[in-house]
Subunit: 327 residues, 2 copies
Amino acid sequence: MVDVARRAGTSTQTVSRVLSRPELVSEATRVLVEKAVRELNYIPNSAARLLASTTSRIVAVIIPSLSATVYAREVDQIIRVLEPASFSVMIGHSDYSERREERLIQSFLERRPDGFILTGTQHTDLARELLKNSGVPVVETFDGDNDAMDISVGFSNYEAGRKVGDLFRSRGLTRIAYVGGRIEQDFRSNARFDGLDSRLREDGLAPVARIQLKLPMSARDGVAGLDQVLDVDPLTQAIFFSADALAISALLECNRRGVRVPEQMALCGFGNYDLADATMPALTTVAVPFETIGELAATAILDRINDRVKEPRRITLPLQLLRRGSA
Amino acid sequence: MVDVARRAGTSTQTVSRVLSRPELVSEATRVLVEKAVRELNYIPNSAARLLASTTSRIVAVIIPSLSATVYAREVDQIIRVLEPASFSVMIGHSDYSERREERLIQSFLERRPDGFILTGTQHTDLARELLKNSGVPVVETFDGDNDAMDISVGFSNYEAGRKVGDLFRSRGLTRIAYVGGRIEQDFRSNARFDGLDSRLREDGLAPVARIQLKLPMSARDGVAGLDQVLDVDPLTQAIFFSADALAISALLECNRRGVRVPEQMALCGFGNYDLADATMPALTTVAVPFETIGELAATAILDRINDRVKEPRRITLPLQLLRRGSA
DNA sequence: TTGTAAGCGTTATCAC
DNA sequence: GTGATAACGCTTACAA
C-alpha cells in the first residue's frame, strides 16, 4: 500500500479510502490511485484489514458432509448469495457429531468470521457458549421443530413425517416401516420418525419397523434398508425412507425383484432429488427446499451482519408432498 | 493475549510459544499459561498471526459448482485431509467460466492463502500471472491431458473417450453419439469427445451426433440429450454421456419407452455415481476417482506448502471402464 | 527458558 | 479532500 501511495503521490490513508470508500475521495486522486493499483498489481491484505477494522468478511458454514447432496446444494446457494456481497465462505464437516462441530466452531472462531451458518439446533453447551461469547451472528438450518439460538431457517421434519403418515393411511395401509439414520446421529431424521409415529398412533397403529443406518449413507444402503425391513416384517406394505437416494435404489430393487410398487410395496422418499421422477413408477416424495434454505440462510446472516434485522426470527418453509406413482 | 500473559504471570511471548511451539517452554509455565488460556476462554486471532508470520493456513479451492456431485465429493475429501492439518478451506464457484475463476483468484488472493486447488488447466492469462506473482502453490485437478502450472492431479479425459469408443467398437456398433456440455464451457468433456472421435476415426467412422447441453446440467437433461440424439439420427445405436446422472435418466427413459438396452440402444455413462449399478440393466460407465483426486490434491498441496516436494509433478490416475449391462 | 522490541499492512481518529 | 499517527494482536529476532 505504501508503494501504491508513493506512486500515486498520496498517503496510504488515501489509498485505503479509494479502496474501501471511494466516494470520500476526489475524482482526480481516485483515478491516480486506481492507476497505481493496477500498475503495481496491488492486492490488499485482508488480514491487515481485519486486524484494523475487526470485520473479516468471512462466513463459516458447518454441515454434516458435502457428500450428502442436500448440504452440497445448500452450500452452493449460500456461496451464490455471499460471494457477490464479497464474503468468503469457509466450510467444515461435522460428520453428524456435536463434538466435531464444537471443535470446528472453536477453530473457526480464530478466523473471526462475521457469521456462522450451522446445521440443526443440536449443539454442545460449550459450542453455544463460545458462540454467545463471541457475539457472532448465528443462523441454524434444517430444523424448524426446535428453538434456535437466534435465527433459524428450516422446515418441520416432524410435519414431514406426519404428512407421509397421512398419505399411507389415506391408502389404508397399516404395516408401515421407517428407514433412516442412526438415532444418536441424525436428529432431524428422528423428528421425521416421530411425526410418522404420532400420525400412526392416532389410528391405533405403530411402525412395524424402524431401521437405523449408519451415516453417511450411500444409495446402496437403500437395498439394505429394504431387506432389513422385510426381515423384521415380511408383510410390510409401505416404507418411508429418510432420503430419496435410498428410496430410489430400493424402488429399482423392487423392480428387479418383481415386487410391484406401490401395490405390493408403497415407497416414499424425502428430498425430491434429481432422479426421483425418472423412475418407474416415479417416486412419491417430500420436496425439501434445500436450495431455498441456503439462499435464505445466507440472506439472513447478511441482514444480521448489516444490522438490518435485530430480532431473532424463525423462518419455516413449507413442505410439499409430491404424490407420484410409488405411494 | 496480554490478558493471558498477565494472568499467567509471563510475557506475551511465552504465551505465543505455548500456543505454537510448546516444546520450547518449561513444563511449569506451560501448564500455567494453558490454565490461563482456558479460564479466559482465550481464542487466538489468526489475522494477527498471519500478519506477523505470513502464513494463513488457508487453502482456496475453486470448482465449477458444488451442485455437481463430482466436485462436491472431491471437496469433501479435500476438507478431510486439510482440516486435520489445521488448514481452513475457502470455496468458490467458477460456474465453468474462466473469467469468473480469474475474479475469484483475485479476491481469494487478498486472504493470502497458502495454496490453491483449481479445476482444470484452462485459465486466463491474468489468472496465471496473478498466481505466479503471488508465489502460492497451485494444484490443478481433473485434467491429465494438458500441461499444468506446477502440480496436477487428474486423469486423461481423452483416454476415457477412447476407452468408451473401444467398448462400443468391440460390440460392432457404428452409429455412436455423444452427449456432453457446451463446447465453450466444458473443456474436459471436449477431451472425452475427442478421444471417442479419434477412436472411431481409426475405424473410418465418426460420431453420428454430438449434443451440447448447457451447464450446469440436471439429470432431466439426460432425456433431452437422448431425444436430441434421436432427432439427429434415429438409428443411433449407442450414446456416451458425459455424466452418469444423464445416462441413468436416459436409461430409465428407455425402460419406460420399451427401448431395449443395450440391444437397441447401448448407453455408457461417466463417473460411476451412487445409483449407476442400481438400474436395470446396470449402467456401464467409466469409474472416475474423484474422491482420490481430492485426497491427492490436498496431500500434494500440503507437501508443496511444507516444501516436502520441490519439483512440478503430474499425477495421472487410471480410469476403469466398468462394463455392466447397459453397453 | 524467558523477555524485550520491532514490525507485519491495514484502518480509525483526528487534525489540517 | 487529504494526511499523520496510533492502534489492531500477534510473531520474529535478538538479548538476557
